[in-house]
Amino acid sequence: MAFDAPTFSSRDAVVCRGVGKTWAAGTKRAHEALREIDLDIKPGEFVVFLGPSGCGKSTLLYLIAGLEDSTEGQTWSFGELVETPSPERSLIFQETSLFPWLTVWQNVSFGLAIRGASQAERRAVAAEALQRVGLSAAMDKRPDELSGGMRQRVAVARALAMRPKVLLMDEPFAALDVQTRARMQDFLLDVWRDSGASVLFVTHHIDEAVALADRVVVFTARPGRIKTICPIDLPRPRNLFSREAEAIRIQLTELLRDEVDRAFAEQEALATAT
């Protein structure tokens, strides 16, 4: 697909132009996950992707990470075309993705080990990153000795150790209980403020979007398209029980309900057809 001179600032953290993804393209099982995504994300911005399950928001995150290739359009990060994964764009997963055979500090410094850094350097970087997530004491523990919340903090530390410019988070707190999730959100906001990185955060929790985002990108049901982009101008730390927060929550709920209804109707139609 040919594009004329792209019309965006090369300083933007992430730029998507006409991005689409069809899984198993060209086969009988082909299905379109994403269509015509145009998106500009500023450096240091906190953007939440909100949408019904299976709408392709995670797929978009993988495309931006460079882990999957888009079938339409192109993505740039800081002026460079995204073709392969890069340590500048760290991805944090929903499930624990720590290496169970390595200790916490070895997990955190995995990226440096790959570059052949000395052990002293790796330990120093791991110590610093773990201090930033408040887990200095867990340096020499193994992942299975930690709680779910601690493991995700180690995953964040591992991403931070690469000094990323963009943090991509795929429902990172979905497996945690409600109280832990609220604490993790505060923690993430602190980390984000310190690091200065842009954060792209996928969730289907409206509360989470209201708590975190500078802007909320609301997706349609499959194929995922951008329905609306909702700015949230509330100052931080946010009072989630304020009238303004409530108004945004209602607005997002309405937007999402249409899409969930549509997804349901589609699924029912599909079930009766077969």
Binding site: L67, S86, S97, W101, Q106, F110, I114, D144
Partner: protein, 316 residues
Amino acid sequence: MAVVSRDGDTGAAAGASRPAAATRSFEPARMLANVGRLDWLAKMWWACLSVGLFAGLWELCWALGWADPQLLPPPHIFLSNFGEQGKFFNTATRWQVGNAMGEGPSALESVMITVGATTMRVFVGLVLATVLAIGIGVAIRYWHLFDKLVLPTVTLLSPVSPIAWLPVAIFLFGIGNAPAIFMVVVALFFHMVLATINQIDGVSPNLINVARTMGASKAQIYGRVIVPAILPGMLAVLRLNLFGAWMVVLVAESTGVGYGMGQVIMLARNTFNPSLVFFTIAVIGVLGFAFDWLLRLAQRRILYWLPDTKEKLRGL
């Protein structure tokens, strides 16, 4: 047993940098404590009880006259005349030309020589098959062309019974240790290649994606993520195949080898000696059990990071 080289670099690094005062859960002392003492005794007790019950039932059948001692001699009969049975072991040395019946190694020595020979064949065959299978299995996933060229043949040869390879072993290697080891390797290799591929395909894509986003090359992903991640599964595969190796080695030894447990079984068959058959079966059982125990010990040491699911199941 050198099964697979774990990520030696980081592993060694962890060992070197470990603070002496830190409490860690995979310190040798604690691991020994886990295995040792009362726990270990209790396990032995249960093993003895399990075998004892089986033997007791057999003895009961004999006492009631259901089991003919000529055909199914109970343990107290086939274990009692050890000196008599031991004679038949180490057939090659004992009946060499010029050796009188009373000369040569004693009964115990004969049994030990035979057991040693068979165990060595099992061990060498198992190590060769494992190294080859993991190597080829990883190579199949690593190079796409290699996959296309090799995997169909491996799959084609997988269902072939080791019995069918027996003539090939003799054609190629004549008699001696080589054909027996070849039989063990050929019986395990193809399955283990498929098992390796299966294990590789089961590695969590998240772990691979993490390594990719950190800039790991293909070789680094295989060396630092895939190989450690498949280790637990491969050790389980190895344990299952250990028993397979013991089964095959007997088939191989029953023909193309001068001595070994297989020869003893054949001799017992040809001379209609049920006592000797059951005695040999008992020896094989003990050996297989010991091998399995050693492998489990190794498993617990190499795979220190695995949770103990068995304990959880016991609580159900």
